[in-house]
């Protein structure tokens, strides 16, 4: 691995999808109108928000005398709250995400990265700070952060199923988890409860392949996970369909319940569907006022 040529080649391969991913994410992000942007609440900032009657705890230097001069009472000029929000991004990069049954070759991982990066583009354009979970990339604002996020998103994990890392979350920040959630659910639960403890709200987006939703298999089949570490043999795959679908529905229900209890949003998205719809949902979910 120390061969510089191999390293260079790996880096090139890694970087290859990077500009198109960013460009595509930006293209996707332009489909969302930035209409609901802004905090819509008083706070620190530059822009005028509203005048309100002065209350006893207001300092006298905060009274806007020009406005107060036109009326009997004293008024305080409030500015719009413009403290940037921090959003932590986790996109599952495990092997299970590289599955696709589509003719276009659109893998779950590609769709998840696209959605994650597009959300990041939107958020950064909105002035928020976006980072990655764990301590890989602390939240920062600015276009330069997008390039770093994209670079990190382009990496793959060797594990079969990914698990979110709840570390590095700032209190009261926002979070976005994109995964197929087909692996062990305990880390997800742990991450969400920990986030809830810190007052972090966010959105869970489950990205699934249409085949995972339909299970169109029949006959004697050996199912293997993407790395081959898990396998299951059946003699009549068609017999398993109903039970598989029940399990999948249970998992979704569990995720939705977990999200509800922790104040998160949950939605499922299929790679066969339009990415713009999912991005719109993501944007709405992240903009929800806590």
């Amino acid at each position: 691995m120390s061969d510089p040529l191999l390293l260079r080649q790996g880096a090139e391969e890694l970087a290859a999808p990077f500009p198109p991913l960013l460009a595509e994410a930006e293209h996707l992000a332009t489909t969302v109108l930035l209409g609901e942007h802004g905090r819509r609440r008083p706070g620190q900032g530059d822009d005028f928000w509203q005048f309100r009657p002065a209350l006893p705890f207001d300092e006298s230097r905060s009274i806007d005398w020009r406005r107060s001069g036109r009326a009997d009472g004293a008024f305080v000029r409030e500015k719009e709250w413009q403290i940037a929000q921090s959003v932590i991004l986790w996109v599952d990069q495990a092997a299970s995400m590289s599955f696709t049954s589509l003719k276009s070759g659109e893998t779950k991982a590609r769709r998840a990265r696209l959605l994650g990066l597009a959300a990041a583009v939107l958020l950064i354009r909105g002035g928020e700070r976006v980072g990655m979970t764990g301590l890989r990339l602390p939240p920062r604002a600015g276009e330069g952060q997008l390039a770093r996020i994209a670079a990190l998103l382009s990496e793959d994990e060797p594990a079969d199923y990914g698990a979110p890392d709840a570390g590095g979350m700032l209190p009261h920040s926002r979070a976005l988890f994109v995964s197929d959630f087909l692996g062990d659910l305990a880390p997800v639960e742990a991450a969400l409860t920990r986030a809830a403890d810190r007052g972090v709200r966010g959105a869970l987006l489950q990205v699934l392949d249409p085949q995972e939703e339909a299970f169109p298999f029949d006959g004697r089949t050996i199912f293997e996970s993407m790395t081959g570490s898990l396998r299951h043999e059946t003699l009549k795959a068609g017999e398993l369909r109903d039970r598989y679908l029940v399990r999948l529905a249970e998992r979704k229900d569990w995720l939705a319940a977990l999200a509800a209890t922790t104040g998160w949003q949950f939605s499922a998205h299929h790679t066969g569907d339009s990415a713009a719809a999912a991005l719109l949902w993501l944007y709405g979910a992240l903009e929800r006022r806590g």
């Binding site: 197929d180 087909l182 392949d209 996970s225 993407m226 299951h232 795959a237 398993l240």
Partner: protein, 929 residues
């Protein structure tokens, strides 16, 4: 070979392989179908799920059965199954292979030869000596020569059937010369023959007799005969089973001299009947060409019957001089000729030129004196080409100057003026009788009736050549019938009339005989024995046993006695025999022949040729196994889920390709389908009167033209009895123009010049009465002939058209009065003259007539520039689209434009009807007001 019912096996030990089938059953039952490996992230959800049915790992019983069956078929196939394997007959001692060798054998001679070969092979294997004898070709020294089988096999190719049946006497005599003991294999033709019983007895005295007979029906034709204007044939069959049909073809030479089928009829035997009749009703031209009739599809001499002169009827053309008086049939110069000829010849009557075209065998002139020069030349050419001109004298010939001073080529002798009457009230002497015919006369031998007398005749000038030309004379030595050769043909003159006016000859039977001797009428079909006695007939064509015609140059002649005896044999093969002046056909069957199947005694084993066919089943069995294996592939895929779900499509596709057993047979090239668009246009254009305009490619001009014609059509509908449908635009390059009475052609500067094809169509359209109205639409800008762009374009366009000389529309042109009386023809622009076909140069106005009697037809073109379409144009609701002029004057101009349009369409549809002088008074009346 091991036999199982009718199936034998070439390699029966392979059938032991069937024992392993139960083993295979067990193995297949134990092994479940192979699993598919699939990568699937959702496997995490599947962990712990168990299959509810534990039996599904077994292959289903029906699939097992399919496979076992396929394997069993493979084993059976390689064991070499044969249906009806040829059984060995065994036997020992000498073997006589006897075949009839008659025409009835020819039909399936190859299979008989195969059978003989098989018998010879078998005899060779068994070491039996073999004698090979055909009853139509008996050994000259009698008996049967037994020799080694391979020596006999060498003679097999020389063994051929003959076109006649074995001779009864010869067969019986041969049977008596047989010696020693031998078995007999008798390949019979299946027909009953009188000599079969004695021969069978003689053979059975020598050893066992096995008879082989083909189950194929024997069919044959009796000779054709001519009855009641039809050629009739009787088709015979030996086995009278159920109803059957066959085709009879009449074959002959076509006008080009090539042999081909001239007619075909179907003959149908009723069930139980052995004879069926078929009639050919053919025109004489065709009938005379027939050389033979054949039962189609049967290669046998019996299925062919040759046609000879008896079928051919001569065509005789009769022409009488002068008008025929109605109602005086007995005085008609042709009456007796007709009566004499009609039973035996085809009589044609009509105009000389027409008759010569029909190329008759004989041309009869009854008292025709002079011919037009061209007719005389035509008749002479016809005679020189082999025709026979038969002339009868009469008052006209006697009164004419024909052949007076020098001999006319169409008369055999010079004639004296006036002829002579004998035995009349004002003349001396008795009516003359005929002198006996000289030996060199074609009439020699005909009996002279006493009552034939001649009252008047035309007289021949004494000439040196006269004596040689007389073939019949009166008792006083004056010629009655003279003849001279002319080219390949001849000219014969009867010096009397063809009716009973001058002589009683036409009333007698002698007249008919004389005509027959002159080969004017057809002879009776059969010659009597007496007539044949002493003659020799040379075979021209002979018939082989297979029904083929062969030249017979090398065969010796046949005496008339032999011919009269009938019955073809080695000395007289069936065929066509030529005598001096006629040909006689000797056919395999005579007119009374019948066919009957041979009834063999029950003790004689009769074997058909059919059952000896071996059928090798290996290919079929293996193909069935392959089909089963393919079905197994499909079923296995379906069971293992590979036919549905992901990745099923390529598998299904591959299977479909594999199962596509045979590509479609190449289809015959279809005829190009009729163009539905062209048909639709034709229908639309012909169901009603439709005005049409030429599509110029300029959208605005085309729309205006269509709107204009629509407006004109509306006006026509309201005011006249012409009720046009909606106008059509025509593309000169593709559309047929013939349907449209009028073509409005707005000339634009930029339209393309039509192609040569389009010009051909346009010219055809103009010649067949169509009219084109050229409109340059530039009358406001240019005078005619001045160089407006449209004018130049018009010149370019019209260059390829077949347009007569033009002139400015004269004041008395029929266009000025076909419906309305008009003198100017404005459109949207007014005042420019329009051009039509010029009047013929000689047309002069008659005093008192308002107009000249001008040319007949419709002017093919009308050329102007007044932009009529714009003046006529209306939209669908009838609103005018373009303004014309100003105010009431403008409306008046538009009205005049419509009137011009009405006159134009009327002119196209009624032609010069209004030029007819009948209308003059009414028109004068109108013009006078």
């Amino acid at each position: 070979m091991w036999m199982l019912g009718p199936i034998g096996f070439a390699a029966p030990w392979l059938l032991l392989g069937l024992v392993v089938l139960p083993l295979l059953w067990l193995i297949l039952k134990a092994v479940p179908p192979a699993p598919i490996r699939r990568r699937f992230p959702g496997v995490a959800l599947l962990l712990g799920l168990t299959d509810s049915e534990t039996q599904t790992d077994r292959t289903p019983w029906w699939l097992l059965l399919l496979r076992i069956l396929a394997v069993a078929l493979v084993i059976l196939g390689f064991a070499g199954p044969v249906l009806n394997p040829q059984a060995e007959t065994g036997g020992s001692g000498p073997l006589l292979v006897l075949t009839d060798g008659s025409w009835a054998d020819a039909r399936d001679w190859e299979r008989r030869a195969d059978r003989i070969e098989a018998a010879l092979d078998e005899a060779g294997r068994l070491g039996r000596p073999v004698a090979l004898v055909a009853l139509t070709d008996l050994p000259p020294d009698g008996g049967a020569t037994f020799q080694a089988a391979d020596a006999a096999a060498a003679r097999l190719p020389a063994l051929q059937p003959e076109a006649w049946a074995p001779d009864a006497d010869a067969v019986t005599a041969w049977a008596e010369t047989l010696e020693g003991g031998f078995d007999t294999l008798w390949l019979s033709d299946g027909l009953a023959r009188p000599w079969r019983e004695p021969l069978l007895g003689a053979l059975e005295a020598r050893g066992a007799v096995t008879v082989f007979e083909s189950p194929r029906p024997v069919r044959a034709l009796r000779p054709a005969r001519f009855e009641e204007g039809e050629v009739r044939l009787t088709a015979l069959r030996a086995v009278t089973g159920s109803a059957a049909e066959a085709d009879v073809a009449a074959i002959g030479l076509d006008p080009a001299g090539a042999e081909r089928q001239l007619a075909r009829e179907t003959v149908a035997w009723d069930s139980g009947e052995d004879a069926a009749e078929v009639a050919f009703d053919l025109p004489p031209e065709l009938r005379n060409r027939i050389t033979r009739f054949e039962l189609s599809g049967i290669r046998s001499a019996g299925a062919v019957t040759l046609a000879d002169d008896a079928l051919q009827r001569r065509e005789v053309a009769l022409i009488a001089g002068g008008a025929e008086p109605e109602g005086l049939e007995l005085l008609d110069p042709l009456h007796y000729l007709r009566e004499a000829l009609e039973p035996t010849a085809d009589v044609l009557e009509g105009d000389l030129n027409d008759l010569l075209l029909a190329n008759p065998d004989v041309l009869v002139f009854a008292d025709v004196a002079t011919l037009a020069d061209t007719e005389a030349v035509a008749v002479r050419e016809w005679v020189e080409a082999g025709g026979m001109l038969l002339r009868f004298a009469g008052p006209r010939l006697a009164a004419s100057d024909v052949s007076r001073t020098e001999e006319s080529p169409l008369l055999p002798v010079r004639l004296r003026a006036g002829g002579r009457s004998i035995g009349g009230a004002m003349s001396w002497g008795e009516p003359k009788t005929l002198a006996p015919f000289a030996e060199d006369s074609p009439f020699f031998g005909l009996p002279l009736p006493d009552d034939v007398v001649v009252n008047a005749q035309v007289m021949a000038q004494p000439d040196p050549s006269l004596a040689a030309r007389v073939i019949a004379q009166l008792a006083d030595g004056t010629p009655l019938v003279t003849r001279k050769p002319l080219g390949d043909g001849q000219v014969v003159l009867f010096h009397v009339t063809a009716n009973a006016e001058w002589s009683s000859l036409p009333l007698s039977g002698l007249f008919v005989d004389m005509l027959e001797r002159l080969a004017v009428s057809t002879r009776p079909p059969q010659l009597t024995e007496a007539e044949l006695a002493g003659t020799t007939w040379a075979p021209e064509e002979v018939l082989t046993a297979f029904g083929r015609i062969e030249e017979a140059d090398t065969l010796p002649g046949v005496t008339g006695e032999r011919l009269a005896a009938g019955g073809p044999g080695p000395d007289m093969p069936p065929g066509l025999y030529a005598g001096d002046d006629r040909r006689i056909a000797v056919n395999v069957l005579d007119a009374e022949a019948t066919l009957a199947p041979m009834e063999w005694p029950a003790r004689v084993p009769v074997v058909g040729l059919e059952v000896l066919r071996e059928t090798v089943l290996k290919g079929w069995v293996l193909a069935a196994a392959l089909a089963l294996l393919l079905a197994d592939v499909l079923a296995s895929l379906a069971l293992s889920g590979r036919l549905r779900g992901p990745r099923a499509a390529p598998a299904a596709l591959a299977l479909t390709l594999a199962l596509a057993a045979a590509p479609d047979a190449p289809r015959a090239q279809d005829a190009p389908p009729p163009d539905p668009a062209a048909d639709a246009l034709a229908l639309e254009a012909t169901q009603e009167v439709v005005l049409a305009h030429v599509l110029t490619g300029n959208r605005q001009v085309d729309d205006t033209a269509e709107a204009g014609l629509r407006g004109l059509s509306d006006v026509l509908y309201r005011r006249t009895s012409i009720e046009p449908a909606a106008p059509l635009g025509v593309d000169l390059e593709t559309d047929e123009l013939a349907f449209f009475p009028l073509l409005y052609w707005p000339v634009t500067e930029d339209q393309p010049i039509p192609s040569a094809d389009a010009y051909a169509r346009l010219n055809r359209y103009l010649r067949s009465g169509g009219m084109i109205l050229f409109d340059t639409r530039d009358a406001d800008l240019a005078g005619f002939g001045s160089s407006s762009p449209e004018g130049r374009k018009l010149q370019a366009l019209a260059r390829g058209l077949d347009i007569p000389p033009l002139e400015p529309l004269p004041a008395d042109h029929v266009l000025t009065r076909t419906f309305y009386l008009l003198q100017d023809f404005p459109g949207r622009h007014a005042g420019r003259e329009i051009w039509v076909e010029a009047a013929p140069p000689g047309a002069e106005q008659v005093e008192g007539m308002p107009f000249r009697d001008l040319n007949d037809g419709v002017t093919p073109v009308v050329i102007g520039g007044n932009d009529w379409a714009a003046a006529w144009a209306t939209d669908e609701a009838g609103n005018r689209l373009f303004p014309v002029g100003r105010g009431m004057t403008g409306e008046r101009q538009r009205e005049m434009a419509y009137r011009f349009g009405v006159n134009l369409v009327m002119h196209v549809l009624t032609g010069n009807y209004k030029s007819d002088q009948v209308h003059v008074p009414a028109l004068l009346d109108r013009l006078g007001q």
